[in-house]
Amino acid sequence: METTAPLLELHDVAKRFGGIQALSGIDFDVRRGEVHALVGENGAGKSTMMKILAGVLPDYQGTMVWQGRPLRLRNPRHALDLGIAMIHQELSVMPELTVAENIFLGRQPLRGGVVDWPRMFREAEAILAELGFGHVNVREPLERYPLGVHQLTEIARALTSGAELIIMDEPTSALSPMETRHLLELTRNLARAGKAVVYISHFLEEVTWVADRVTVLRDGRKIATLDARKTNKQELVRLMLGKEAAFFEESYMGGRTVEDRHAASEPVLVVEGLTRPRTFTDVRLELHPGEILGLYGLIGSGHFELGEAVYGLIKPTAGRILLEGRPVGIGPRRAIDRGVAYVPPSRRTGLFLEKPIYQNVTLPWLAQMSGLVPRVPREIAVTDGVIHRVGVRPPDPLKEVVFLSGGNQQKVAIARWLVEPPKVFVVSEPTRGMDVGAKEEVMKILRELSQAGVGVLLISSEPETVLAASERILVMAKGRIVREFVGETVTKERLLHAAAGELAEAR
């Protein structure tokens, strides 16, 4: 394999977005018969690099060489014509159409100007059999099949269009363990058949299994290209984070012992065997009064959906959610009345940007605060109290939320739940996109709440957020809780490692 010339090479490639250097000095190559994996943290530059390879970003610095000849991709169509196909994270299939139509989308074989259905079915069957999925009926609508087959359809589409280089972006993030195995084997087979594959994934276990070589990116730079058989998860995580980072991100554990509190109190929230297909599986957790429980997972791990389930927004198919021993029930109203508060991961979802702060704050409490006619002066007084407590600037209850900065908008979303202190506070991604000062203020509010006896479920895909406030951390991956950290020092490195590495246990 070492002897074959690279199919595609990048030499000293760089890309800027406005003031941000997304990539710099990237040298990269991929050969026929090889799976070359690309790993790195969110924001390390994987997406940017992939978009350059697929012709989505034509204005980069540096050189791309295809089969020994320098060239510049003009657009995705150009890349596709050369034989570079990309399998997207979000699938681009049409579930209502047949499997065969999806494979030949936009280039169905024609005869006399109309689609040659027999030929299309025949060729679709042939390619699927080649990929080891001969049991799939290509005449059936794609929606009858699980997501693994949707992914497969995209790969078949790439192959029938004559792709030589296939770029896969997080192909397994939505797949079940079984489907993941099939896909990984299929990927190996593609390489064996002489195709080149660029494989991008958060799941390092998969990467070390499927890849021949692994390239690690960090902060837009290439850190290393390693032989996949000679490396391991620990080394990859260390390279992805950099030493300093691992050292820096110490967790907030000292002082209080979790065991003491657990012995002293009944859990306020108990989740038992919670399951919802394609969302989460057999999730079990206990939240105690006065505790901040961190729930960490990579995007798509089902942790945000778990928060929604606790608030009654989505219905599990199995399992129970008990608040002080009784089921919470369906719908936000019931959850609020039982003392559950919820802040969604996106501020835009939870706030009325065009309405004044006080209307945002008091909406859940209007019925309790007054009769049929809300008393605005009272609303303003109550709002004034809670926004001063969380430090909204400017602290003007009449100001529309849209005029506040993101951090202050988030504080409004939290302040709403201080009107009637909750028993359980579910906060998703409370500090996303904030500067350090605003982050620290939000964390302080959460700690104060927990000291006042509120059970806080802190859900995030940012390791720093979870580490900054949690006393106990659960890690979710592919819908399951794969790891619990209690009473020990946790670093960002260990957290990421648990989320990306311990899939073996989940299977």
Binding site: F17, I20, A22, N42, G43, A44, K46, S47, Y311, L313, P332, R333, A335, I336, D337, Y342, P344, R348, T349, G350, L351, F352, L353, E354, K355, Q359, L363, P364, L366, A367, S370, G371, L372, V373, P374, V402, F403, S405, G406, G407, R416, R432, G433, M434, D435, A438
Partner: protein, 327 residues
């Protein structure tokens, strides 16, 4: 993996305020401009008598428009209101002809309209059919019921109360105008000062956020569809008194004007913004325009075209500014 946009203060704060203000007041300027224009070009326009005339002309629209304001504020629409009005008028006349004791024909008419509105609401809020489609189907149902009950004929037996409210006067003022004013007033008080009114605005502004804050958004939407139907029913019940008869198509043609007036006033088609004061301005714009075009010597066959162009301009305006809405 793309770079998350970070906190940024609002550089466009002044611009936003400006847009918000111009959006709020543009309909008022339009109204004043129209009044000025017609006052200059017609001697008969700016008289007390003509002003009373205009009020009388828009009174039925005002009753209907009150309910439509509720519906639009939740970002829904009701295309069946005018047919509901016709239907309610037919029901009131039908049972009066059938010698049902008064005021039961009127009660029956309002209940029937309310029931159809409830079906609109359930179809929209529970079943998730776009209100556009549900109410389109309902317009046919209401229209069909009117035809079925009348067998296509005109009914002349009207409830006495309808005749009084539709064409009577008290202290020199038409009852019809008073009923319209009262409907607008009640609508305004409910929207502006009650908890339900707040829920209506918040549901329209961001339905998902309202749901997350524990608002029963489906209930709110069902309720506004019923309110829309009830005010349409009321318009029909007093409307037959004004016409002196109930025909199976009496008020069908009012749909465009009724929705148009509400939107002209500045109530957003996307929900959450607007209210009864805006609707009043919109009604007056439409009333002044219709009345004024009669006073000045415009080609009679141009009138509809001009009204249409002005309505379109107002809609474009509405969409342009609604596009600024986040959420």
């Amino acid at each position: 993996m793309a770079n998350e946009p970070h906190d940024s203060p609002n550089p466009s704060g002044c611009w936003r305020t400006f847009l918000a203000k111009s959006r709020e007041f543009a309909p008022v300027w339009t109204l004043l401009a129209l009044i000025l224009f017609f006052s200059v070009y017609s001697d008969s326009f700016l008289t007390l008598e003509n002003a009373a005339n205009i009020l009388n002309q828009v009174a039925l629209l005002a009753i209907m428009g009150t309910g439509i304001t509720f519906v639009l504020l939740t970002a829904q629409i009701d295309l069946s209101v005018s047919y509901m009005a016709t239907f309610a008028g037919v029901v009131a006349a039908y049972y009066t002809a059938g010698h049902l004791p008064q005021p039961w024909p009127i009660v029956a008419a309002l209940l029937a309209a309310g029931a159809l509105g409830w079906i609109n609401g359930v179809g929209t809020a529970r079943l998730g059919i776009p209100s556009f489609m549900v109410t389109l189907a309902m317009s046919l149902i209401a229209s069909g019921l009117s035809l079925y009950l009348t067998r296509g004929r005109i009914l002349f037996d009207l409830p006495p109360l309808s005749e009084t409210l539709g064409s009577g006067r008290i202290l020199g003022v038409k009852w019809l105008v008073l009923v319209a004013a009262l409907t607008l007033l009640v609508g305004h008080l409910v929207l502006r000062y009650t908890r339900f009114g707040r829920y209506v605005y918040m549901t329209g502004a961001n339905p998902k956020a309202a749901e997350l804050a524990g608002v029963n958004t489906r209930g709110v939407i069902t309720a506004v569809m019923v309110i829309g139907a009830l005010t349409a029913g009321l318009a029909g019940v007093v409307g037959i008194g004004r016409l002196g008869s109930a025909t199976p198509t009496a008020f069908d043609g009012m749909l465009i004007d009724a929705i148009g007036a509400v939107v002209l006033g500045g109530t957003s088609l996307f929900g959450g913004v607007g209210g009864i004061p805006q609707t009043i301005v919109g009604l007056l714009i439409l009333g002044v325009l219709r009345n004024g075009l009669d006073q000045v010597s415009v080609d009679i066959y141009m009138k509809t075209l001009i009204t249409g162009v002005i309505l379109l301009a107002a809609l474009v305006f509405n969409i342009l500014f609604a596009g600024r809405k986040e959420a």
